[in-house]
Point group: C2
Chain length 273, copies 2
Amino acid sequence: MLKDRRNPAPASAQPLPPFPLYRLVGGGLDLACGGEIRHVHKNTDIIIAGRHYQALFVNHGGWLFRYKILHNGDRQIMDFILPGQIFGLQACLFKTALYSVAAATDVLLSSVSLEAIDRVFEDNPPLARALFWSAACESAIIAEHLIDTARRSAYERVSHFLLELLVRLKATGVVEGMSFEMPLTQELIGGALGLTTVHVNRTLRALREDGLIAIEGRRVTILDFEALSLICDFDSSYLGEAARTLRGEMAPSGPAAQPRRHIRSAVPPSRLI
Amino acid sequence: MLKDRRNPAPASAQPLPPFPLYRLVGGGLDLACGGEIRHVHKNTDIIIAGRHYQALFVNHGGWLFRYKILHNGDRQIMDFILPGQIFGLQACLFKTALYSVAAATDVLLSSVSLEAIDRVFEDNPPLARALFWSAACESAIIAEHLIDTARRSAYERVSHFLLELLVRLKATGVVEGMSFEMPLTQELIGGALGLTTVHVNRTLRALREDGLIAIEGRRVTILDFEALSLICDFDSSYLGEAARTLRGEMAPSGPAAQPRRHIRSAVPPSRLI
DNA sequence: CGCCTAATTGAACCCGGTCAACCTTAGTGG
DNA sequence: CCACTAAGGTTGACCGGGTTCAATTAGGCG
């Protein structure tokens, strides 16, 4: 479809759009949505690796995740798709989708048929730019996940994971203070972090016992943002523009808490080159 | 500068360019290079995380790598930048570069100043498309590295790593048969795969003893492409278009060799959902 | 021929996986 | 109202792949 009613706002050379297309719908750019919003049930696959796709999806509510099944049956989750985010871009670009996308919760979706992605670059520069920025941020998120699994201990990984969720959800406006709803099973968390359910459980307990987080039901509360950030050297800049404005508001100061537990090594900063 | 002499070639809606911009220079698109080619010595940083950049770089020869140093001193290598590849795009997009880029060998570079990346989308759709496709492929490579570190054993990781290099280098034309020069120390390999030097060494030895690869000096020879592919379920499709044309030519057939050694599990394909 | 970097190899240790049991919660139907 | 069920959370015991520490050997180069 692509109704091509451009953004009413000046198509000037304003800085890149705020977040990876989060809140893009109804916000700055209007993606000229296909219209009707579809309801999709939990555990349904939206995109299946190996098939070809010609449309993007907009997530209007609920959580999804991008994943891949290996030949040994393991499932690696690349990242989670939060409300307001688009997905399915990669599936369009490659002849065949590299990864599957499934709903972690019940989800509200609309699709945006991009007849030929090619055209976008000639016809709709603002959209092209938005897509590009979106892809860059997603790429950065995955890169950070790479660091997670390659360099961080389980304790650090889970810390990093929760902080990332906090900051990303903050951008969608569903964070109250320092707590948010996390509709994920420990199996999904483990699937994303390269850990087993058992160990995710143990690690969450450790974080709780250390007074860094609190969990009641599905609600997670970050009790000590600074300490957690130190533990896993979390730097939200990889999450894009929007994150930057949050920094001040998030860090409640407090003396640099000493990270404890199996931190992989305590090499002094001098080794930082 | 951006001399803005557009691509003389038709700006038609031809399919996406072949590879992540590999061989882009002198090939299809002319990036309007800044001109002079700079020689950079091994171990020099080209891009430094935290600084801001306004230009892309083209690698005309030699290997580089994108990396990040963690607070504990660990260095994670995100990916290697091979001859013909461009880099520094992400550094331009974000206010400040997320990762550093250093030369693994002596390197020949030219830079492409893109005064404002913004402009590209309005002014030069073909370039925009090329950049986009490049970013998508790089993202896919990193995603595969994520799977490496999260789900694969050391034996599988190293296998996967070598196969990826083979396929990517094939696209640059420096592969002779099934062998190629790999100017990397085991420390660099470990830095990319999330392993210690020691274990990289042991794993390479195991692969050699199993008759899967051979190493003489810096030259690596893949002795059994099929077996290695099975071990780490390597599927080159994530490397983009170009890879696809290689498949037939690479697999020298041979019965599906049975992967040995500590494969994490030998669940029959039935469990593949 | 020394010097430095990289490659090798050995031995001890430990984080996280594996296996297995048990508990909690929510939903369902009689 | 409660028994029954299934999915997810929790915990313990043990094991092993990969790290760590440390020492030795090869390779390139002035």
